[in-house]
């Protein structure tokens, strides 16, 4: 999988690149508008991460260019701008998702995975991890073909964990992912503990491996058992 990160803050694009590398995602970067244009015209990407404020141009123009060239890349806007108009304008011009800075890399990763899943959707749209199968469309989870009864939050959590396999996830990243729009107001992230506990219980009871590891002082990690 190959993606393009159009972002003038080199440190941010480097962090993204490093984080995604271990998940088998190859990242190319472009720090400015012109370089970005050259790259999207020369290569095809699975996904493009787009910052709107570039030193030599407007990110929206890149969206227009993609549209004009009939490019089918999924685009996630990553921007410090946080208002409805910009968001709507982005979607109108063909962006698929919008993530406001600052964000958790884990959040960006699962959003990108979800976008690619939607783009490549060909009849089956499943996330499979060993004996666990998550059917995105019907929102069902089964372990060794036994259906699990998960709440919406638990399903969300499961996808977030699997998507960030082998990554340490902070409580705040998980909490913010689970609470969506409300995240900005939460000052206590302890509620995720109950969700983790329940999910873990339901999975292991259904005969799945115990993949959720607690990382002391930090959060949790989805790890394939050795």
């Amino acid at each position: 999988m190959k993606i393009l990160i159009i972002e003038d803050e080199r440190e941010i694009s480097q962090s993204i690149k490093n984080y995604f590398k271990t998940n088998g995602i190859q990242c190319e970067t472009a720090e400015n508008y012109n370089l970005a244009l050259t790259k999207i015209n020369s290569y095809d990407y699975d996904c493009i991460l787009l910052d709107l404020m570039l030193p030599d141009g407007d990110g929206f123009d890149i969206l227009k260019e993609l549209k004009a060239k009939n490019k089918t890349e999924g685009v996630i806007i990553i921007s410090a701008k946080e208002n409805l108009e910009t968001r709507l304008e982005g979607f109108k011009l063909g962006a698929d998702d919008y993530l406001t800075k600052p964000f958790h890399l884990a959040e960006l990763l699962v959003r990108m995975q979800a976008l690619i899943r939607r783009k490549n959707f060909k009849g089956s749209n499943n996330v499979i991890f060993n004996e666990i199968v998550v059917e995105i469309f019907s929102k069902t989870v089964s372990v060794n073909d036994i259906k699990l009864d998960l709440t919406k939050k638990e399903l969300d959590l499961l996808l977030f964990l699997i998507g960030n396999e082998n990554k340490v996830l902070s409580k705040s990243a998980i909490a913010e992912h689970l609470s969506g729009d409300m995240a900005d107001m939460l000052d206590n992230h302890d509620f995720i503990y109950a969700h983790i506990k329940n999910l873990k219980k339901k999975l292991t009871q259904a005969g799945s491996g115990d993949y959720i590891k607690t990382v002391y002082g930090l959060g949790y990690k989805w790890e394939n058992e050795q």
Binding site: E82, N83, S172, M182, D184, M185
Partner: protein
Amino acid sequence: MSNKKLLLKTTNSFLIYAVIILLTAAPIFYYTCQWLYIYETDEVLLFHKGAFVNENHRNYNAIDIAAWNKYNENVTIVPDMGVTRDSIVGEMLFEALSDQKEPFRILYAPVEINGKKYTYIEKRNLVEMEGMVFSVAFMFLFIIIILLIGIIWISKKSAAKIWKPFYNTLSQIEDFEIDKNNPPQFTATDTDEFDRLNKSLERLIEKNTLIYKSQREFVENAAHELQTPLALFQTKIDTLQQLDLTQEQSALVGALNKDVSRLNRLNKNLLLLSKIDNEIYLEHDTIILNEYIDKNIDFFIEQAQAKNVKINRYFKNILRTKGNSALTEVLINNLFLNAIRHNVKDGVIDIRIENNSLKFINTGPEIPLQAQNIFNRFSKVNPSSQGNGLGLAIIKKICEINQWDIRYSFKDSLHTFEVIF
């Protein structure tokens, strides 16, 4: 002391002056008129006597005098009464015509007729005077009253006209709010003082608005500018926590994570406040509060679980309101989280909807909050709490721009926040 209107004050002093003038002028005028009339009468008496002396009456003999006395009722010539010079006295005499005593002026004057000394007596009835003085006085007073009323009326009118620009300016300033975009439009005036007043007010307002705007922009820009370093901070921590860390290091990174998300929250709230200030949220919809609360209750129950706080809903009626839906949601979320955050273990939150009021009643610290400054930015009640001191300021701001009423009360160990829509 009760405040009086400016115009009332000037007319009041006018009225008091008028009453005093009328009360003092009436007797003075009456007596002056009377004195003048008597003076005139006396003049006439003396004139008559002079004429009598000049018109050769001195040739009268005793028979002529008797005849004179017979035919003249008012002037009589009597033998010398010992009067040495002209003297006039006022006296009440019986008047046969009206059958009563009436006031008279009587002149006693020494005259010489045919070398013999006589006393000339002439009397004049003053009854006419009474009537005349009265009617003159009355007319005069009438004119004074008309004049005063006129003066008061005209001064009132012209004062109202003169002060009109002042009242105009006053009402403009009263309507002025620095956070709304409505600078006052003063009407031009040809009164120098009011013109100066308007101009200095304009300068003052312009300057203050400018300062206010730049401050507001500063908050917004600062919050915006902070987003990039915050993003860098966040992604680096995310990267850092993937490294093989010792327990001690993990704990540190975990704490850092908390700090950055707290910083992030603070920044987002500041941005939200400045956005509300900048009137970003102008669209209005009808919102059904019951529905919104019901829809999100699971989320809040989840949040309350850590403290084992019970949430009860008492909806007496459907509460619809007009407002920006995004902001109304923020309002309710903040009220909710506030009630959870400051609650105690095994506490209770009651949400009541009654008529057009929404109440969040919660258990919490046993002491009431300081109602006068809890809604100020960064006025934290409990310094150790995770709140950033902006939650209630946001609540207040949202209520303000929608013209809703927010109240805090403390009763029976329960904290109540009530919004009246």
